[in-house]
Symmetry: C2
Subunit: 227 residues, 2 copies
Amino acid sequence: MLPRALAFDVFGTLLDWRTNIAAAFAGSAVSGDPEELADAWRARYRPILEEVNAGSRPWANFDELHLATLEHLLTERAQQLPLEDKRRLVAAWHRLDPWPDAPAGLEALRRDHVTAALSNGHIALLVDLARYGQLRFDALLSAELAGVYKPAAEVYLTAGRLLGVPAQELMLVAAHPWDLQGAREAGLRTAFIERPLEYGPESPPREDADADQSVSSLLELARRLGS
Amino acid sequence: MLPRALAFDVFGTLLDWRTNIAAAFAGSAVSGDPEELADAWRARYRPILEEVNAGSRPWANFDELHLATLEHLLTERAQQLPLEDKRRLVAAWHRLDPWPDAPAGLEALRRDHVTAALSNGHIALLVDLARYGQLRFDALLSAELAGVYKPAAEVYLTAGRLLGVPAQELMLVAAHPWDLQGAREAGLRTAFIERPLEYGPESPPREDADADQSVSSLLELARRLGS
């Protein structure tokens, strides 16, 4: 059975965060290799979400969490930066270029499916990213609406409830096996998309043997789903 | 100061519910004047929302509330209808034609403003309506996300919070003074749009002397806001 609705992870799946964040570091007073700094910042993403999900850190949105992880990173490296410069780096997460197939791929998939972003990023951030990248969705959904972060089941279940589709008719499209695994545990179908440059040319290879679909672009997914 | 974000009421403001609902009655086994039936069904909308907001009726989405109000209407008129036929009438609320200026007006306003639907209708219903009417928003927001219906302040405040804009930089666009009044009480700016055919050629005249803007089309609003 084909899915009725598709939910898309955003950072890494639709957007190349690394290039823009590295450029933001290159334009800042932070010393070090910009790409390594981008990777090191991003590496603090899942641990801080786990703190929120575990209840050891109060709910905070991505702007707040990015500021916190940036401060950890700078402290660790004994670097100081004015708050205004830190805010400029945090704001760089609001203007990330999509992977080249994303705008047309989303349009193609929207023809025959309800499409929604389903990101850990908050709605206001997703609005900025969708406008900047000219990404069209039917709806923007976020962990913010569930009050807990992916891969907690409640995020995927909230998406199904708000879209009015049973979990088994909702497919998560993502580049990250941990996200897809969370979706499967909540009863969703899953599509793994290869993003071999997410961490630059040296990105570790990924695959997800349990996904219903494994594709290298959104247009390939549209063909597979008969769009 | 110009608003940064615009929130749009949907039923009556962007969509002509009456023509399509009357057509659905005309194609049903319900006896009576289809337009009068559409008006009588719609007249039960605000009272049942007030029951929910007052806590005397549990939260229910528009599909559930439309079914309940249809059943009241039919009972009052001593008419019976199979559940399947009732569901077909409820489903008619998912396919309503926009007012002629709405699609292009939303596009024009989206150029310089973040745009969001802000309806009492649930997200899944808004997805269907936006797809059917080719209405493009940056985000779909709903009373469903606040757990209470307009004109409760929490609905407008939730929209501002999710869009990341202070209430005074968010403008509600609506054809209904009661909705605009609720928005003003929550601190929003307001734009009244004339929809002189909402209740057919005999619609009672409306105005809202307290609105920041009063316009006869979305394109006029776009010109007023400098889009």
